[in-house]
């Protein structure tokens, strides 16, 4: 995604990622509620399945895109000085890149198992 997400694309991305994030979180909550009390084996098995592994990485990537658009909107609405706004947007981008790397480290570890 480019630094300046254009209006229509940001609008669409926000909605598509919202739908995916909602479906993933609700499905996971329903699954967990049927497995209570949740065991380590069941939890690890679920998340190491290729389908669920990809679905979970996609969930976080969708969440990060969703957060980028949402927090960017808040900065643009409330932070008027362009210098401070730029620094905040760069910090947000940096934060989300770090979160993405962290996510990949977690799941690369799972693939080895």
């Amino acid at each position: 995604m480019s630094f300046q997400a254009q209006g229509m694309r940001a609008w669409l991305l926000q909605r598509l990622t919202a739908i995916y994030v909602a479906i993933y979180t609700l499905s996971l909550m329903i699954w967990v509620s049927y497995q209570l009390p949740l065991s380590y084996e069941a939890w690890l098995n679920l998340l190491s399945q290729p389908f669920m592994l990809i679905a979970t990485v996609l969930f976080y990537l969708s969440l990060f895109i969703h957060a980028w658009v949402g927090i960017r909107d808040i900065f643009v609405d409330y932070v008027k000085p362009s210098g401070i706004r730029f620094i905040l947007l760069m910090s947000l981008a940096f934060f989300l890149v770090v979160m993405t790397l962290w996510l990949l480290i977690i799941f690369v570890g799972l693939v080895k198992i």
């Binding site: 939890w43 957060a67 996510l103 977690i106």
Partner: protein
């Protein structure tokens, strides 16, 4: 000749009286920020829970400790409100519930249901 009008600016948060649709909207933002702040904690707990059996047990212990539960209550509200209000906005995009009376009714529904869900979860945790 230009007349300088003084527009009333009620930026005093205690003086602002938002309509219910405005409350649903600003709470959507607030809940979004809370959920955003929870991202690193969720990754930390995900990593810990998957690391090994001890890590998993530790994750469950963290999540069931009273102080963490207290911190999780705003998160429960944020999740419930953001999900419901987001769903409402998707319906509004589809031109469902766009008329004022319907928009007010769904806004009330979202705001109240999110609070009820939070209370039910909180009561469930402490009973």
């Amino acid at each position: 000749m230009k007349t300088k009008y003084k527009r009333p600016k009620h930026l005093n948060l205690l003086k602002i009286r938002l309509p219910i649709t405005g409350i649903a909207s600003i709470n959507h933002r607030l809940s979004g920020v809370i959920l955003f702040l929870a991202i690193p904690f969720s990754l930390y707990l995900l990593q810990l829970s998957l690391s090994n059996k001890e890590g998993f047990t530790q994750t469950i212990e963290y999540l069931s400790s009273p102080w963490i539960k207290l911190l999780l209550i705003p998160l429960v509200w944020a999740f419930a409100h953001h999900l419901l209000a987001g769903f409402r906005f998707l319906l509004i995009d589809q031109e469902i519930g766009i008329h004022l009376s319907a928009a007010r009714l769904t806004a009330w529904f979202v705001v109240v249901t999110a609070v009820i869900v939070t209370l039910v979860v909180a009561v469930g945790w402490w009973l």
